[in-house]
């Protein structure tokens, strides 16, 4: 299997800045979509695809023993499309077709049109169950592949998440890692007001998960946590891993940060110019 070339923190930082720019561009072009949750997730997704995940180097053919990434918070998919474009699974040019009639880049991940997204998601709460099935299937075949599943913090208000949270430890799926992109916001307001989810780490620990608590924008912490998933699995540990990643909604664009109105509103061309100038200033 081809292994991912380990990128340095500096390289990952530069990549994720480029992806932030692409996210703004494609959402502006599409005139709709979710910037807040895409920008909060992009650092973790970048680290996964460019540093930790294995078997995803070749866009020509999907390797059977590849690591899997399921984006359960499907509305954050522009972040994934940016990464897939850089990886060559889709073309950079294709990003402009986001949400257009006939495009493979549907508003939420569509496994039929773009198999590398692994699961069709968008109705929240379902991705972790599919990830569990992937992990069980890979384990049955004695494959070493890992399955990563990213959820939103509002998303885990869904009951099905807790069914999976209970079920995954029963099957001792140490090849499964659930990542919570905890950006604190959802459509109707702050998660803490809409439907409180804390104490989140205690809850997952009580359900039988190994919990790692990180800053979801700090590449050193992200890389260390993801690496721990693999070493624990290879060591024969039985517990699945839950990574609580504290993130900022709209991260990297100051006027979007922690602003609920940027959950599901696309930037206008003026906003985009401002946002991109700010992202570039940091490069």
């Amino acid at each position: 299997m081809q292994t991912n070339q380990m990128k340095t923190v500096e390289e990952l930082t530069a990549l994720s800045r480029e992806f932030r720019e692409w996210i703004i561009e494609m959402l502006t072009e599409a005139k709709s979509g979710h910037p807040g949750g895409s920008l909060s997730a992009i650092d973790i997704i970048t680290a996964l695809w460019f540093a930790e995940m294995r078997g995803v180097e070749s866009a020509q053919q999907l390797a059977e023993d590849r690591d899997r990434f399921v984006l359960s918070k499907g509305h954050g998919v522009p972040a994934l499309y940016a990464v897939l474009a850089k990886k060559g699974f889709i073309s950079k040019e294709e990003l402009k077709t986001l949400r257009r009639t006939g495009s493979r880049l549907q508003g939420h991940p569509d496994r039929r049109r773009l198999p590398i997204v692994e699961a069709s998601t968008g109705s929240l709460g379902q991705g972790l169950s599919v990830a569990q099935g992937l992990a069980m299937g890979l384990k049955l075949q004695s494959k070493k592949s890992l399955v990563f599943c990213m959820m939103g913090d509002g998303e885990i208000q869904e009951g099905q998440i807790w069914e999976a949270a209970m079920s995954v430890p029963k099957y001792q799926l140490s090849n499964l890692c659930a990542i919570l992109d905890q950006n604190g916001g959802q459509i109707d307001g702050p998660v803490s007001e809409v439907m409180p989810i804390e104490p989140i780490c205690d809850k997952w620990r009580a359900f039988g998960w190994h919990v790692i608590d990180i800053d979801g924008h700090n590449f050193s912490e992200i890389l260390q946590a993801l690496h721990e998933v693999r070493t624990r699995h290879e060591r024969g540990e039985s517990k699945p891993v839950f990574i609580r990643a504290r993130t900022v909604k709209g991260k990297g664009v100051s006027f979007m940060e922690n602003k609920i109105e940027w959950h599901g509103a696309a930037p206008k061309p003026d906003d985009a110019t401002k946002a991109i100038a700010e992202i570039r200033a940091h490069r």
């Binding site: 069709s120 998601t121 569990q132 099905q160 209970m166």
Partner: protein
């Protein structure tokens, strides 16, 4: 000889497990009732007890299918199809090659009452693109259908099974084709004035009605639908052109089930026989003796014959 189709399913699944290592089975704490326990006892390593978590079970089955397995996930039809959004997205829209097994179809389960009765499952599953919807008529049909679902069918499929025993009605020597209506009681070359169509638990009631009507001087014929989707519109249209009355009998809501399959098929014709849809008429199920419930809901042989008589009167009038 009579057998519940859930029993025939369990036996067929355990047998197919021998030659199809890709088959895995999931159940949500109802393995004894759905008869998936027959597979569990034989292949414990390929059986997953998922607990009382139908939605998670559906998603897990989809994930297993994406790694090349052929998952059979089993529960009562009411509970399974009740998790419609999960089936819609994680299974259907994802193109997951899974077999959804819903047992305890209709008021035929009796005592347990409405909450346990699958009464809208066919309607729900028929709305999902590419989802196959099947309901076998007896043990033999179940066995043949299971073979078809493992070896031939691609993509998701829903299989609806009965709790109660059903008599053997599969015609001897008939060439199996689940996608075609099966003639059960008919005379070749001539369509009877009354065509009775049954599916699953009600086919035997349609046959009883056919026999009763014969003693009353009304000529009828009986057909079975194993596939509710894709539905055999071609045969249905032929029958509806030649008959005076077409009657559907089903242990399911009259909305979206067999009756509506027929209605959809014949609505394209300029002229066709009137359609009488017998089934659960915009009402809830209830506890009781299955035999009494079939009478009460108008789907027993006797009630079907009565309804046919009275409808023929109105046509004449």
């Amino acid at each position: 000889m009579s057998k519940a189709t859930r029993q025939a399913f369990g036996e067929a699944l355990a047998k197919l497990g021998e030659t199809h290592p890709e088959i895995v089975v999931l159940d949500a704490d109802l393995a004894k009732s759905t008869k998936s326990e027959l597979f569990m006892k034989k292949f414990p390593n390929r059986f997953f007890e998922m607990g009382i978590q139908e939605a998670n079970m559906i998603g897990v089955a989809a994930g297993l299918a994406f790694t090349g397995k052929l998952p059979f996930l089993c529960s009562f039809g009411a509970f399974l199809t009740g998790r419609f959004d999960t089936i819609r997205l994680s299974v259907a829209y994802s193109g997951a090659n899974v077999r959804l097994i819903g047992t305890h179809a209709g008021v035929g389960i009796g005592d347990d009452g409405h909450s346990q009765m699958a009464l809208e499952d066919i309607a729900l599953m028929r709305t999902l693109p590419e989802m196959g919807v099947f309901q076998p008529m007896d043990a033999r049909d179940t066995e043949l259908l299971m073979d078809y679902l493992v070896k031939t069918w691609k993509g998701p499929a829903y299989l609806r099974l009965t709790r109660q025993n059903l008599p053997n009605l599969y015609p001897e020597g008939h060439a199996f084709d689940p996608l075609k209506l099966t003639p059960i009681r008919n005379k070749a070359g001539k369509t009877a004035p009354v065509v009775l169509l049954g599916t699953g638990g009600t086919l035997c009631e349609a046959v009883k009605a056919h026999e009763l009507l014969a003693t009353q001087g009304v000529e009828s014929e009986v057909w079975n639908a194993t596939a509710l989707k894709p539905f055999d519109a071609e045969t249905t249209q032929k029958l509806a052109k030649a008959a005076r009355l077409i009657v559907t009998v089903e242990d399911h809501s009259v909305f979206g089930g067999l009756g509506d399959c027929v209605a959809e098929a014949i609505s394209r014709l300029g002229q066709h026989a009137p359609l009488l849809k017998l089934g659960i008429q915009d009402q809830f199920g209830e506890s009781g003796e299955p035999v009494e419930l079939y009478d009460k809901f108008g789907i027993s042989g006797q009630e079907v014959a009565r309804a046919v008589h009275s409808h023929l009167q109105t046509i004449k009038g």
